[in-house]
């Protein structure tokens, strides 16, 4: 601002004088707002609410449980396991290890929504935005922390599921190394997809702001949209199906294919990323523009 206006009659000082004379030395020397700090803050926030712990615990249990069900259900129908090629054995193990991702995507979507709607519904968002008044750094930090933790939790769950699968299927003589390309790629890809779904849901939560509404929208897109499209007896519906976030996500690491001609996993990844970018981008625009 330019030259300060003088104060009301009877007050001799200019604003500038008062500013230098009386404002205590709070003006930034020493700690100030910074990216690492904002990320650390979001990590503290994520790790100190129960919903996070619950979501990851449920993810782990569901992944291991589904792997166990699938491994116990393995029916060789009299085939000698020695005649089954190693790659097929590995594919079965990979499917069992990542089967939890089907349900896991719903769990992490709820988590992604809660991370931000928990702030909107409690009013915490006002504390967040007064600490980070430019707003977007807080959103990016939330997305980053959520992405990394969900990826790690997803990876741990998938590896635990792998361990369960192998422990059970070994009884039938089935073997597959975790680091076989048929196994490790889906295990990593499944975790990556979970992390991206969480960030997608974070965007939805920021746009919708209410917890119940956001969960409805996020689960609608992930769960309901594919079902609805499959029920529509039109070719365009079948054509669109592979481009949904959940279809592309699960085909990305080879669980199920929705396209007649399977898409390359990089194409699937790009499809998922577009969903995430649109969601988070819209969230950023609205967070910046709206009153909190």
């Amino acid at each position: 601002m330019s030259t300060p206006t003088t104060l009301a009659a009877g007050t001799p000082e200019t604003l500038a004088d008062i500013g230098t004379e009386f404002v205590p030395a709070s003006t930034p020397t020493g700690p100030h707002l910074n990216a690492i700090g904002i990320i650390r803050s979001e990590w503290i926030k994520l790790s100190t609410v129960r919903s996070t712990i619950w979501c990851f615990a449920v993810l782990l249990v569901v992944s291991m449980g589904l792997a166990a069900i699938m491994a116990f259900g393995l029916d060789l129908a009299g085939t000698d396991i020695a005649t089954v090629p190693g790659t097929d054995q590995a594919r079965f193990v990979a499917q069992a290890s990542t089967f939890g991702v089907f349900f896991g995507q719903l769990i992490v979507a709820v988590l992604g929504v809660l991370v931000v709607t928990g702030e909107f519904t409690t009013g915490m968002i006002r504390s967040t935005l007064t600490a980070v008044p430019k707003r977007l750094p807080a959103l990016w930090a939330k997305a980053l922390v959520l992405f990394v933790t969900t990826f790690v939790a997803g990876l741990v769950s998938n590896i635990a599921a792998y361990a369960v699968t192998v422990a059970i299927a070994n009884g039938q003589g089935l073997h597959a190394s975790l680091f076989a390309p048929e196994v490790i790629f889906p295990v990593l890809g499944g975790a990556l997809y979970l992390a991206l779904v969480a960030v997608f849901a974070l965007g939805i939560g920021t746009i919708v702001r209410s917890g119940a509404g956001s969960i409805a929208v996020a689960l609608g897109v992930i769960l309901l949209l594919p079902v609805v499209l499959q029920m529509i007896p039109a070719t365009w519906a079948t054509d669109v199906l592979p481009y949904l976030i959940s279809s592309a996500g699960v085909s990305m690491f080879g669980l199920i294919q929705f396209a007649q001609v399977p898409l390359d996993w990089t194409v699937d990844l790009i499809i998922v990323l577009v969903w995430v970018i649109v969601s988070l981008g819209s969230a950023a625009v609205l967070l910046k523009r709206r009153d909190a």
Binding site: P24, I38, E119
Partner: protein, 337 residues
């Protein structure tokens, strides 16, 4: 230092804050008063960038709040006690806030102790009473040791001890040269805490003056005198600028002359006094008279909106109305003569 220039906020067609200007000085406690819906909270929210002004600007230390390098260390804000995630403990909430600015953990523990939250710091905020929530909100505001404090209804829900604590704290912080802006509905509390008052009505500034001046506008100081010779005393004191009101048979309420002068004159004339008490008009009286038009406007229906809208003289009109408000006054002034 907070400066607003033609600051305006609309919600739909409703103008919440209507082109207001003000400057809030360091070293003082400034009270923001006004009826519900006058724009107090909206103004505070605009100062810290939660609401975007439709036009005009508000600067803290010469900068927009959004542009501050260390917002928490320049401005501490309590907008409502429930701006805190209910599922997190008080200490973790403060740690998360502190982390953004690399404020050390020792400072978090300091503000917890300062606000008397030590015993509940590790409990989840959801179980907090309103008063504890307020204390936590104040702790968060103090976290960055800021030069400016903005507190919306800080004593809301506090027990008497807490109210006293907030009052002393605000006075202390202003005494250190900090800028303190607070709003409250408790007039008596505001009169004790604030040095300066900005009164809002329907989104406009209807008064911006030191507390004493605001109270002065509402009629100033009066003296209550009890005397068996009240009528004689009334005659004795009758002079220009002195108003005598006969409250009861032997009780007078006198304004325009100090208690000492009344005592002296009574002694000189040999009039016995049984009571001589200085009374100060309350901030509440001033508030009522200043906001009279604003309140009438909103409860009086739709008939005379046009009249109420052209209110460049609102303050004067309200003060005049207040001056002629007491019918006994004129009546008894006559009696006294």
């Amino acid at each position: 230092m907070i400066q607003a220039q033609s600051l305006t906020k609309r919600y739909g067609s409703k103008v919440a804050v209507d082109a207001i200007d003000f400057t809030i000085q360091p070293g003082t406690v400034t009270g923001l008063l006004g009826p519900n819906g006058a724009g107090k909270t909206t103004t505070m929210r605009m100062i810290v960038g939660l609401d975007r002004p439709d036009s005009g600007t508000v600067l803290v230390n010469g900068q927009r709040y959004q542009d501050l390098r260390a917002p928490l260390r320049e401005v501490g804000v309590l907008l409502d006690a429930k701006a805190i995630h209910t599922g997190r403990s008080a200490r973790n909430h403060l740690l998360a806030m502190a982390a953004t600015h690399n404020i050390p953990t020792s400072r978090v523990d300091d503000v917890i102790e300062l606000t008397g939250l030590t015993s509940v710091a590790r409990k989840r905020v959801g179980g907090f009473s309103l008063g504890m929530g307020q204390r936590l909100g104040i702790a968060a505001a103090l976290l960055g040791d800021p030069g400016i404090l903005i507190l919306d209804e800080p004593v809301n829900g506090l027990d008497p001890e807490g109210v006293l604590w907030v009052r002393k704290l605000m006075r202390h912080l202003a005494g250190e040269g900090r800028t303190v802006l607070l709003s409250s509905h408790l007039m008596s509390e505001m009169a004790l805490t604030a040095d300066h008052i900005i009164m809002l009505g329907r989104g406009r500034v209807i008064a911006d003056a030191p507390v004493s001046e605001i109270i002065g506008q509402a009629g100033g100081a009066t003296v209550r005198v009890r005397s068996p010779q009240a009528t004689r005393l009334a005659t004795l004191l009758a002079q220009a600028g002195v108003t005598v009101v006969n409250l009861e048979q032997d009780v007078l309420q006198i304004s325009g002359i100090t208690a000492a002068e009344i005592g002296d004159q009574a002694a000189a004339a040999g009039v016995a006094l049984h009571e001589l008490t200085s009374l100060t008009a309350s901030l509440e009286d001033a508030y009522m008279s200043l906001t009279k038009n604003e309140v009438e406007y909103r409860t009086g229906g739709t008939g005379d909106d046009e009249f109420g809208d052209d209110d460049s003289d609102t303050t004067d009109a309200a003060a005049d109305a207040a001056a002629n408000d007491d019918p006994r006054e004129t009546e008894l002034q006559e009696a006294a003569r």
